[in-house]
């Protein structure tokens, strides 16, 4: 039997209920359903891409495009030249690397400490952490806290409050706890201390799980805008998603300043920015999918 530690254990290999090789009506129904739903998922992306590459005069004269009529990359060029957007990208990249490393560090060491049973007060600390999953102070006290810590309107507010994600921490804890305890015993006999055991024995064995959690954090950082919306006033500190949000949803649209001549349509610019933000995810996602899936499956079954 495969174990969950095996990265190849994926639900993608589910067998289904039929072994008959004949293609029946049900298969056709399924195929049609799958096709339609797949289109529904893909169409908004396709449409956004189509608008982003359409010249303004095509967009303004044809209400509905099914295939490109004329291709221009001007919108993307404008997005690349947009200082707000590029500034946002810079901030997001900082979050992506520094933030992910910071979150990984604290989440993983906490998970490890909580997976060992020997120390006094472990249950107390565990309960103290679990309570926070079910009860919180709410928005106003959180804002008061950030102001008290003088974090408002700094880059740090986008990173520091995310140090430990309780869900990911428990995932990590459960993973460490599932590794054989004999390893720790024999390292102990060889004279290793807890830090060495953690660093030299348990960490190298946990690479798949570390990758999974790292990816969860990375995606979270790439997508983060909530703290920025609450606390960032300085336009230069806005992360990408927040810049994008202002461009898309604000009534006084921020793309106006980019429309220098008739060559650009507002929608074209908006969709170029949206698509620009989706592309990195699109490129990496198919390769990383199995890690995400694994994280979800392990977490739900053991957590």
């Amino acid at each position: 039997m495969r174990k969950f530690n095996d990265i190849n254990y994926l639900p993608l290999r589910a067998k289904g209920s039929t072994f008959d090789s004949k293609v029946g009506t049900m298969d056709w129904v399924l195929f049609v359903l799958m096709f339609i739903y797949g289109l529904i998922i893909i169409y908004p992306f396709y449409n956004a891409f189509l608008i982003s590459i359409s010249p303004a005069e095509v967009y303004n004269t044809t209400p509905f495009l099914l295939y490109p009529k004329g291709v221009t990359w001007d919108n993307y060029a404008a997005v690349f030249k947009d200082s707000e957007f590029m500034g946002g990208l810079k901030i997001t990249l900082i979050l992506l690397f520094a933030g992910t490393a910071y979150q990984m560090f604290f989440t993983v060491i906490t998970g490890y400490a909580l997976s060992r049973n020997r120390w006094v007060g472990k249950n107390f600390v565990m309960n103290m952490i679990l309570v926070t999953m079910f009860f919180g102070g709410g928005l106003i006290p959180y804002v008061v806290l950030i102001n008290k810590l003088n974090l408002a309107n700094t880059l740090a507010v986008l990173i520091i409050p995310g140090a430990i994600d309780t869900y990911n921490m428990l995932l990590m804890r459960n993973y460490f706890a599932s590794l054989p305890p004999d390893l720790e015993e024999s390292a102990k006999i060889d004279g290793a201390n807890d830090l060495q055991i953690f660093y030299k024995v348990y960490l190298p064995m946990s690479l798949p799980m570390l990758a999974t959690i790292g990816l969860f954090f990375a995606v979270g950082n790439w997508n983060s805008w909530y703290n920025a919306m609450l606390f960032i006033k300085d336009p230069e500190l806005r992360p990408l998603q927040y810049v994008l949000q202002l461009k898309i949803t604000q009534a006084s649209s921020q793309v106006d300043n980019l429309i220098i001549d008739d060559k650009f349509s507002k929608e074209g610019l908006k969709m170029a920015s949206v698509f620009f933000t989706i592309v990195p995810m699109m490129c990496f996602y198919p390769f990383l999918q199995k890690f995400f899936v694994k994280g979800l499956v392990v977490g739900a079954i053991k957590g």
Binding site: A113, L139, D194, E267, Q289
Partner: protein, 319 residues
């Protein structure tokens, strides 16, 4: 001397001391976490007393005066606001419907994926439907506006065909269906994974035996697949009940607009608190904290209740 030794080896305090000394590095590793949770989770819990005070941002919590009506003034005022009740009603409608709809959608999605027989199709389909989960609601809102919003496709087509342009995103009747369908669009594929994992664990012999008995595919799904995922389904349903009052700030915030807020269909408790305390005005800080506390307490009671019920029904509890 002898007596001292005996005390040393038997005293529980000494035992604690020794164990702590032996595990000093583990303690060292947990200290950042203790500080983190105290500061970022427990300080806000202490900050809840703002709900009972006349507090304004920038002043000191301790020295600010208690609210009138022996501290419950903020609650009294909030409970008399029609906007609060409208937000609470919307939260319940959106929270409960989203819970049920996404529950059914995830199971249906898992059944469909599970029944696809060509491995290539199954894999690509799953990749496609899982993908939107990794996008932020900001992006999803951008894509949706581009189709249904002002200057979106629907707008352009209706303008070109009958002259009256329709912007569905500002239509109050369209708001809830849009929230539910985008939730399915974004999350159904991802939520189905856990059911697929459970289905992968079903013994093929059960299906083979059913084949021999002449069962149809629907019968196999009904009598084998669904019963097999029932415990997982119940557990997940229970787990999500605690989150009903968090009907999805990210989604609502990115998809609502003044037109639907005015119509009173869009505001949920979280957006209401944010908009009327931080973004613009409408609530005092104490009142905002009171709404937040109300939400936290009700959610907590829901979690405890659900946990008790689950345990009574013989399911594994969550606490």
């Amino acid at each position: 001397m002898n007596r001292k030794l005996i005390i040393k080896s038997n005293s529980p305090l000494n035992d604690i001391g020794n164990r702590t000394k032996q595990s000093k590095y583990l303690i060292l590793m947990i200290i950042p976490a203790i500080i983190y949770y105290l500061v970022f989770c427990y300080f806000p819990m202490y900050g809840i007393i703002i709900a009972f005070k006349d507090y304004t941002f920038g002043t000191d919590i301790i020295t600010s005066p208690w609210a009138e009506s022996s501290g419950f003034g903020n609650f009294e005022r909030v409970f008399h606001l029609p906007k609060f009740w409208s937000a609470l009603r919307n939260t319940l409608i959106i929270g409960v419907s989203k819970l049920l709809i996404s529950f059914v959608a995830a199971i249906l999605m898992a059944l469909i994926i599970n029944e696809i027989r060509l491995r290539f199709f199954k894999k690509s389909f799953q990749t496609i439907v899982t993908f939107p989960h990794f996008l932020s609601w900001v992006i999803v809102a951008g894509l949706v506006l581009n189709i249904f919003g002002p200057s979106g496709i629907v707008y352009n087509i209706t303008k070109a065909t009958n002259g009256t342009a329709v912007s569905l995103t500002s239509d109050p009747d369209f708001f809830l269906p849009m929230i539910f369908s985008t939730d399915i669009w974004k999350e159904a594929g991802w939520s189905s994974i856990i059911y697929l994992a459970t289905m992968a664990g079903i013994s093929p012999e059960l299906y083979e035996a059913a084949d021999i008995d002449g069962a149809t595919r629907f019968q196999k799904i009904w009598h084998i697949t669904l019963p097999a995922i029932k415990p997982t389904a119940i557990l997940l349903l229970i787990l999500s009940i605690g989150g009903i009052l968090s009907a999805g700030f990210d989604q609502i915030y990115n998809m609502y607009n003044p037109a639907v807020i005015e119509a009173g269909v869009a505001d949920i408790l979280d957006t209401y608190i944010y908009r009327s305390t931080i973004q613009s005005s409408g609530l005092l800080e104490g009142e905002g904290a009171a709404v937040g506390l109300f939400k936290s307490v009700v959610s907590f009671i829901l979690v405890i209740m659900v946990d008790r019920i689950a345990k009574l029904c013989g399911e594994r509890g969550i606490i």
